[in-house]
Every structure is written in structure tokens, then in C-alpha cells.
Subunit: 217 residues, 2 copies
DNA sequence: AACGATTTTTAGGCAAGGCTAAAAAATTAT
DNA sequence: ATAATTTTTTAGCCTTGCCTAAAAATCGTT
């Protein structure tokens, strides 16, 4: 049995270390989970004992295949629930995270599979993040950062890198949502800002914003 | 903050003691929760400290208004999720319990309210149990036991008292479901068995079964 | 009313998951 | 190459929720 707490650590290692393939430091995990380094060391040992993680003292942790699969399963659930909350329960994409953090730990294979079917097998969550399949695989996003797109070209907003509250609120305020068509008008080299056109209006976005927007062409 | 474990105790006290109004014994709770009496004593004290329960040593526990509301909220969530699982995710009514036991602890007011709306404000769960509203109130079931119904009369199966696995399986096997119309044909005083007619066939049910079937007229 | 049986509480312990403070290892700077 | 700094681990302690065993209270019977 993988406990709730263990699942959270697996998720953190998965996210920090390229799906857990690259070793991540104790401190990095502590910061992500908002706990102390000593607690992380404790838990890492337990995960290693359970064959979910590879751990060598002072050299960081990565995930075993078993651990990676367990992490992917939690992430799969998280993202499926996010889709449900946004599509069916009128949540906005900046409201879903906290609730999905709870729902992702519900244990029932039938529940996940039926939810997946009910939602018609979505491939991405409301933030544009891909949803792993039952085996932990997913088609990587083929979207590219808006700063790398030629002036005059158009694409569909399909992923936002930063999914913090402030950023999502910024997007809402400027009427930008996943799935929207965006045309790149003009790049300003001085401050690296970008002038773009959405279906509703023209807009200038800063470098900071642009770095977080990914379009698929 | 009410913990998961505390919520389970509140639920047990609520169910055992007429919505927690009547004091229930330590042993009764222990049996219901499948734990030891000493653990129950410990937890009861915590609930009393938090003003969720009224507790006098050696004299059992009842719920305060606050405790009763907290319990009703958990039960509300449990039953709403059961409706969702059966109506939207193809669960049968004997499969829902275990998953609903987990889902009932998810904390989010918006989630419950939106789920309620999504399900179109159901008043009863798939077993026929009533769903408390936000204030913990619900219209009591006005259904009566099938043994108290006159021969020749007809009613709709609206509640089953026993919701154990074996009993629900029995009902499935005999093609009996909530909402089905049932006509009482003949009462046999010798063994208190009852002959009934459903839309699909005639059937003889034992006293044990009859005691668990409630119809609304 | 008092004895025995049952129920409930107390006392002391254990595992999980956290914390602080101190020790040890690794890294960076001089 | 060694000193200073940072990172990681260890050691010891805390809380929650559970357990067993023993003590205390209550109940049922005669």
C-alpha cells in the first residue's frame, strides 16, 4: 500500500526529475513539498525500502519503474479530475488545483477508468498538461513557445508553463484561454515584449508572460 | 479542522443514535468502526474537546449541534457521490460504498454544491436513503415496510434497510431495483413469507427479505 | 445489598510522519 | 589544499490514532 504522503513524494520526484529519471536533491523535494529536508530523508528511505525509489546517500533520488508508474497514476487521476471539475462542475482553471490534490488520492481502478470514459478520454487537462494513460505514457506536447514563432504566424494556445494563481488570473483578466487562436504580430527586441492578436483584441505581452505561453501550430 | 478519523466517528455516532441525539455506548461505536473500545474512548474525548460531542464518562456520547451538522455534511457528500457513481459512472449500487467512503472526506464547499447541481438536486441515494441538505435537514422517508401493506395493494420500492453486499446481490439476482413497482399478492402466516408481483414476474420472498423492503404508496 | 459479569476507562506502547538541533559529507572559495 | 559554506543525514522528540493489559465503574442477579 502506498500512503497518501508517499504519493505526494513520488509526484514531487516525478515532476522535479524528468519523470523521476534524473536524480533530484533532498532540498529540492523539501521546497516543493513545503517540508523540512530531514523529513524528506526519512521518507526517501521508506520509498527505497518499498522499491519505489533509487536512493544513494548524499546523491539524490530517482524513481524505479514501479515508482514512476505509481507517480504517473496519481498524476493521471489529478488531471482527469481537473477536466471533470472544469467541464462539468463549473470550476475555473485557477480553482481546480486544491480540490484535485485531494481527489488524486482516491483509490479505485474502476473509478478512474469510468471517469476517463465519462470525460471521453481527454488527452490534456485544463492547463494543457498531458494526461498519462494507464501505463504512464503520454504523447508529449508538440507545442512551442510563443517567442519562437515567426511574426505573422498563428497558433492555438495549448499549454501554459506557469500555473500559479497570479498568472492564471492575469490570463483570465486578459481574456486568454486554452484553445484560443493567437496571432503573433510584432516582436520588440528592446524589452522582448510581443504584440499579439486574439479573436477579441490586440494585446502587448511582456517577456515574462510570453515565456509561459505555448502554441501548437 | 475535523480530521478524517474524526469524521468517521461523527458519522458512526450520528447513525447509531438517531442523528446523534441519543447517547450511544462506547462498545457500539467500537463495533461499528471496527476498532477497540479504548480507541473509541480516546477519540470521544477529542470530539468533546472540540465541541462536537457531549460526553460524560461511563454514560455514552451524543452529538452537539455542531457535531451533528458536521456528520450530516459527511453523509450528504457520501450520498451525493453514490448518486454520481451510479448515474454517471456505471457503478452498481453494491459497488459504490467503498469508493464513497473515500470521496465523502473531500473538503470543498464548491465541489459539493456543484456536484449537487450537476446531479440535479437528488433527494435520495441509490439505496433509497435520503440526502441531507446543506443544513443537515432532510425529508424523512415516508415509505413503509412491505409486511405492513394490505394484500392487493401496490407500491414503489423506495428504500432497503439492509445494504450489505449479500442482500444487494440477492436483489439484483431477483431483478428487484429501487423504483420498481411491486404488488403485494399474498401473506403466508405460517412462515411470514410474502408472495409479490413485480413487472417481470411473480416471486415469493421470505420474512427476512420482506423485513428489509420498504415501499412508498 | 452484594457478588460476578460486563462495559468503560486508564496507562503505557507503537508506527507514521513531521520537527529541531547537531553531526557529517560535499561543495565552493581562498 | 585547506577553510568556509552549504547540503544532507542522524538523533531525539512530538502528535495522531491505534493497540493491549489492567483498573475502575456499572449492571444484573440473586
Amino acid at each position: 500500500m502506498v500512503t497518501l504522503s508517499e504519493e505526494n513524494y513520488l509526484k514531487a520526484i516525478y515532476h522535479l526529475g524528468k519523470q523521476g529519471k534524473v536524480a533530484v536533491s533532498t532540498n529540492a523535494i523539501a521546497e516543493k513539498i513545503e517540508t523540512k529536508a530531514s523529513s524528506v530523508t526519512d521518507m526517501i528511505k521508506k520509498l527505497a525500502d518499498k522499491n519505489l525509489a533509487n536512493y544513494v546517500k548524499y546523491q539524490g533520488v530517482s524513481l524505479t519503474n514501479e515508482g514512476r508508474l505509481a507517480a504517473a497514476s496519481v498524476i493521471r487521476k489529478h488531471r482527469l479530475w481537473e477536466v471533470f471539475l472544469v467541464n462539468n462542475l463549473n470550476f475555473t482553471w485557477d480553482e481546480v488545483h486544491e480540490v484535485a490534490e485531494q481527489l488524486e488520492h482516491i483509490k479505485s481502478l474502476k473509478l478512474v477508468n469510468e471517469l476517463d470514459a465519462f470525460l471521453e478520454y481527454p488527452t490534456h487537462d485544463p492547463h494543457g498538461d498531458p494526461i498519462p494513460d494507464k501505463d504512464g505514457n503520454y504523447s508529449p506536447i508538440k507545442s512551442i513557445n510563443i517567442l519562437e514563432i515567426e511574426e505573422g504566424k498563428e497558433g492555438v494556445l495549448s499549454f501554459v508553463k506557469d500555473s500559479s494563481d497570479v498568472f492564471l488570473k492575469y490570463l483570465n483578466k486578459n481574456d486568454l484561454a486554452l484553445g484560443d487562436s493567437i496571432k503573433v504580430l510584432d516582436f520588440e527586441p528592446f524589452d522582448k515584449s510581443l504584440s499579439i492578436e486574439t479573436k477579441s483584441r490586440k494585446l502587448i505581452i511582456s517577456k515574462e508572460v510570453a515565456q509561459n505561453l505555448y502554441l501548437s501550430l
